[in-house]
């Protein structure tokens, strides 16, 4: 049901854009106002969200340790999974952010019965890691490739990406591998939620919606490039107008472009208010971004409460006679 609602909503967005541009002639709204507003919401929303996180205190240094600690000199420390310095922690974070280190550990459990003996078995389960990585990197490459539409002259790295991404030289315009892989990645992420019972059970509409939305963005982009064959040069005039804040809507832009940009705008607006903020959160996670060195370097809790233990004096007052009788030393004789 959650998936269905999300699908309906994405379809509605597509129809609104098609109708808005086709029948209501709102191309200025969909081509200029909506995307500019979306970018503002995106930037301001993310900045405020992250600052909101930052406002909260970090009372304790609580890394989850994933290997041997810094210990005696002859015991080898696992510096990247259990860092004790800032630079080691930096490397841990690089692995986490760029290579999804923790997800790479994933295993899958199964309960079996082998000749009457219960066996709890664990198998490696790197599919989620693989397809998640595939999706995220394809998305990144696609975003960077799009800079051709937002920068003029086109900067040096875009042709490099373009060449690598299209290196198979299939068809004209050339097939981008990232276009294929993002759809494969998204489809896997979507299907595992729909097919595996426990993942379907934990999935909210808020989990299906971004997947379907991004899938819609990818498919509309693929349509424009390989099937609809839109006028790229006219579109660049529009996108350059957006990015240099001198907006205009040239003639000859296909409705499919407005669908694409409406979906992208929705994603940007939705982003700061959703789980997509994991993009920022991964940098701030206190179980990953702090070294395991609280025994070495003091960590200060800004709101450290002023509490004192039940004092030794009170304790001795309570038990003095017994202590003397048992031959335990006391501060004050009875």
């Amino acid at each position: 049901m959650n998936a269905f609602y999300s699908l309906i909503f994405v379809f509605a967005l597509v129809l609104i854009a098609l109708f808005g541009v086709g029948a209501a002639h709102l191309s200025y709204f969909f081509g200029v106002i909506l995307p500019l507003a979306a970018v503002i919401v995106f930037i301001v929303g993310i900045v405020l969200k992250v600052l909101g996180w930052g406002k909260s205190a970090v009372p304790f240094r609580i890394p989850t340790t994933g290997g041997q600690q810094q210990s005696l000199d002859w015991i080898k420390q696992n510096k990247w999974d259990n860092p004790s310095t800032a630079s080691q922690t930096f490397i841990r974070m690089v692995f986490e952010v760029l290579f999804f280190r923790s997800l790479f550990r994933n295993t899958s459990v199964s309960l079996r019965n082998e000749d009457g003996v219960p066996v709890v078995a664990y198998s490696s389960a790197k599919w989620l890691w693989l397809f998640a990585l595939m999706f995220h990197y394809s998305f990144l490459i696609i975003v960077l490739r799009h800079l051709r539409l937002f920068m003029d002259p086109v900067p040096f790295f875009v042709p490099v990406l373009d060449f690598m991404d299209g290196i198979l030289q299939i068809g004209a315009p050339r097939l981008y591998m990232s276009d294929l892989l993002i759809v494969v990645g998204l489809s896997f992420l979507l299907l595992r939620r729909l097919v595996v019972p426990i993942f379907r059970y934990i999935s909210n509409a808020a989990d299906y919606f971004p997947l379907l939305l991004i899938l819609g963005i990818a498919l509309s982009g693929i349509y424009m490039r390989y099937f609809g064959k839109v006028d790229v040069i006219a579109i660049k005039e529009l996108t350059m107008g957006l990015v240099t804040l001198s907006p205009k809507v040239p003639a000859g832009i296909d409705a499919s472009f407005y669908v694409h940009i409406a979906l992208v705008s929705t994603l940007l607006i939705y982003f700061p208010f959703s789980k997509l903020m994991h993009m920022g959160g991964v940098f701030l996670s206190p179980t990953r971004n702090m070294p395991n060195n609280t025994r070495i370097v003091h960590h200060e809790n800004p709101w450290n409460p002023d509490v004192k233990p039940h004092s030794y004096e009170a304790y001795e007052d309570d038990f003095r006679e017994h202590m003397i009788e048992a031959g335990l030393p006391v501060e004050k004789q009875a």
């Binding site: 900045v47 920068m151 030289q169 040069i233 660049k236 240099t244 701030l284």
Partner: protein, 130 residues
């Protein structure tokens, strides 16, 4: 704010990257960017391209790709367009007869859209070839 310095640096980098295209374009004088003007064939050749101009703007890459396959693989040498007119399938003899300046025609859009067709890996460009 604890670790506020790092958070602010991170946000500045993030926002900076997002604003980078704007700064770049304004710096490069690309504000008011307009579609490149192409050198179109002089009359009387301006009226009889193999297909309509609008269609060609969007689909020429597909057409050229098909032409290559038809000629090289299938030995087909004649193209019949949507108006029933016949053209020889040849980049050199048909297209470049009118569009005879690569730099002033092909490259204009290909550069701004960062497209690198591999036509000229084999074909000789009329003018403006590197």
């Amino acid at each position: 704010m604890q670790y506020g310095g790092k958070i602010v640096i991170g946000l500045v980098i993030f926002v900076g990257l997002l604003l980078l295209p704007t700064v770049y374009d304004l710096g490069a004088g690309s504000a008011g960017y307009k579609q490149p003007k192409l050198q179109m064939p002089a009359p009387p050749n301006d009226k009889n391209c193999v297909e309509d101009t609008e269609w060609m703007r969007k689909n020429h890459m597909q057409l050229l790709n098909d032409w290559r396959d038809w000629v090289v693989r299938d030995g087909k040498t004649v193209y019949v367009n949507s108006h029933g007119e016949e053209f020889e399938i040849s980049l050199q003899n048909t297209c470049m007869k009118c569009h005879n300046d690569k730099e002033q025609f092909c490259d204009k859009c290909h550069e701004t859209a960062e497209v690198t067709p591999y036509c000229w890996d084999c074909h000789l460009a009329p003018k403006g070839a590197k």
